[in-house]
Every structure is written in C-alpha cells, then in structure tokens.
Symmetry: C2
Subunit: 189 residues, 2 copies
DNA sequence: AGTTGATGCGGAGGCGCCTCCGTATCACCA
DNA sequence: TGGTGATACGGAGGCGCCTCCGCATCAACT
C-alpha cells in the first residue's frame, strides 16, 4: 500500500540532494533564494528541480513539513497545560513565530491555503484539525464560542501572519492575534 | 503649493493614456494583465510605463484610488444610518466586495499595507481613519471595545480579503469578517 | 550479459518584470 | 526664431520562473 510503484534510485537521490541544497540556501540568513541556484548547488538541472517540486511552494513545504507537523502536534500538549482559551493563544503565537521566522513560510502557507493540490490540502487539514481540537475543548469548557469554524480561524490567522512588515511594527501581529482570539471567546451575554 | 514644478505636456498625456489602457485591460474579465501589453496598448514604451508607475501596484493603486476613496467615504454615511456595530460590519462588506471584485486590488492592498512609499502610506492612513471613525462611535455607544486599534482591524481585514479562493468557498470570507467583528465587540462581562 | 520499455534528466528557450542609458522632445529665455 | 538645459522617451537586455522534449539512465526480464 505504501509503495504502489517502485521509485528509481537516482530520482530519490536527487530529491534528497535538492532538499539538502534548499535547506542550506533558505537557511542562510541573507537574501533571495533562486531556484536555479538551489538546483546548481544540488548538482542537478533546473528541470529536475521542477519535476520533483512543481512549484516553489512545494519545495518550501517539503522543507518545513516536519516543523509544521510539530506545530500541529503542539496543540494537544498546550491543551494539557493550559485552559483552552490560553492554549489557543499560545498555539497562535507558536504558529506565528514559526511562520515569521522562516519568512518564506508565510507565502507558502498562503499558497497552501489557497491551493487545490492534494499535498497542500493535507497540510491545511492538519492545521484545521489542531485548531478544532482546542476549539472543542473550549466549547465544552464554556469559554469559547461553539459557532466558530476552525477553518475560518486558520485562514484568518494565516492571512494575518502572511502580512510581512506590518506598519505598526512587530508587536502589531500579536495584537491582531488577540483580536482574532477575542472573536472566538464566548460572550457572557 | 500644489505645483512646485511645471510638468511637461507629453508626460501628462502619456500618463493619461497609460491609465486609460490599464483601465481597459484590467476591466476586461479574462486573464492576466501584462504590463507590456498595457504599455503597447497605450502606444508607449515599457520604460515610460515604469517611470510613471514604478511598480505594478502603483499603477493599480492609481487606477482605483477614486473607488477606494468612495469606500473610505462610505464610513460616515453608514454610521448615520446604522448603529456602530452594524455599520462596521457593513463597511467591512463593502470593502471586501470591492477588494474581491477587482481582484488585482487584493494584492495591491497588501502591498499598500506593507509598503513604505508615501503614496501608499496615505491610502493606508485613509483606511485607518475610516475604521477609527466607526470605532470611536462604537466606544462612545458602549458596544465596541475601546482597546482596539483601528490599524490592527484594517490590517487584519486586508489580510483576510487578500486570500483568494478560500477553501471554504466564497461565504467563508463573510464568516471570517464576522469573526473579526466579534473580536471588536465589547464583552458584557 | 543483452534487450527494452519506462522513468528521469538537463538545459535551451519563452515569458514577464524591471533597469538603464543613449536619444528625442519640450519649455523657456534671448 | 534659435539655442540650451532639463525632462521624458523607448526598448534592448538582464534576471528569475517555468515548460518542453530529445536524450540518458535505470531496472526488469531473458
């Protein structure tokens, strides 16, 4: 089931080389990463890069899939340690920090949200699931609204995080997340 | 004051031609607008286009400045007709509708929010001012929170609107705006 | 080992964005 | 009207993205 077709050895080798080269290139602090450069550094033709990763986003997504999975996995943990409301806020922060650190991730996340690709859809589903978990806890607990969809929260948060260089400085993102969080709280009325 | 320098006649003529061509090109329903095409259609070199409008966003912004001004101007009117909470929601809708109709506007708005350019900053300020107006009314009225900055609302809304093709379909944007709106409401507690 | 179809590779080339600068045009003044 | 500096014009060319397809390489079978 897990291997419907046998992959060619050289293909897999190149895939790994590309990921390594990309990791290095995106890791280096300074500036814009050319896909051609990644390919060259991997000792591979540009065509090969595109066959393995049809878009720039696909490459970045593959690069950070693990870390993103960690963010997703942090949701239940936060929920153990904190009350749902606070856990949600923490999770948003974690997500935001991650998205802005690897700032290529911001664009990639946008693409993931918008995309129709299967891979992309999966990541999106994982994120939604993480939020849903916290949301459910908050509903049961009575502190969060029941009529909010996790997907809406995810998309809104991604939208917020994908704005680079906020006019109000770095603290603005935190305030925006607070705003969204407030929208999810159960109003006592 | 308004004319520190006298502009050359041909420059102004070309500027108008470019705007006309752009209006036509962006207006036509179908697909992607090439700046080269705009220039050609205006009977002007590509270099001239870029001198008048240093970036694609600058061109689109010039194109829609009027309509955007109308959106800004609608804030006080909505406020006359409705209570602040409802007025804010209406305004968001108006804005969202506008941003998604001319869907080039979405990217442009993002750029405007992020940009450091003077022109851009002004548009941003206008938007913030419109929201501030409604917010103030809501604070006085007691229905909206006093500790929310208009700028945060604007940026969050723009972030939401700039997500094209939401996974949850077109209605999702409305729900996201509801979410943000809920975050601005004064909690009775 | 040899054959062969399937799979993957490389990079030239097309496209759009944007810059740069030699040339043309304008507006002002004598 | 003619001269002159300032201003604007045009488009070639550089760059990165991405596609396309002829050729190379692989692995499975004999």
């Amino acid at each position: 089931m897990s291997s419907p077709k046998k992959p060619r050895a050289d293909a897999e080798r190149n895939r790994l080389r590309l990921l390594a080269a990309a990791r290095k290139a995106f890791g280096e602090g300074d500036e814009p990463v050319t896909l051609e450069r990644v390919a060259r550094e991997a000792g591979v033709g540009i065509g090969t890069l595109y066959r393995h990763f049809p878009t720039r986003e696909a490459l970045v997504e593959a690069l950070y899939r693990d870390e993103l999975a960690q963010v997703v996995a942090s949701a239940p943990k936060l929920l153990e340690a904190e009350k749902p409301l606070r856990a949600l806020r923490r999770w948003m922060d974690r997500f935001a920090e991650y998205a802005s650190t690897k700032h290529d991730m911001a664009d990639t996340l946008r693409a993931i949200i918008e995309a129709g690709t299967v891979d992309m859809t999966q990541v999106r589903a994982e994120l939604t699931e993480a939020v849903q978990l916290i949301l459910d806890a908050g509903v049961e607990d009575g502190t969060l609204r029941a009529d909010v969809r996790a997907q809406d929260v995810v998309v809104t948060v991604v939208g917020a995080c994908s704005m680079r260089t906020l006019p109000g400085g770095p603290e603005q993102l935190g305030r925006m997340l607070d705003l969204i969080l407030a929208g999810v709280r159960q109003p006592p009325s």
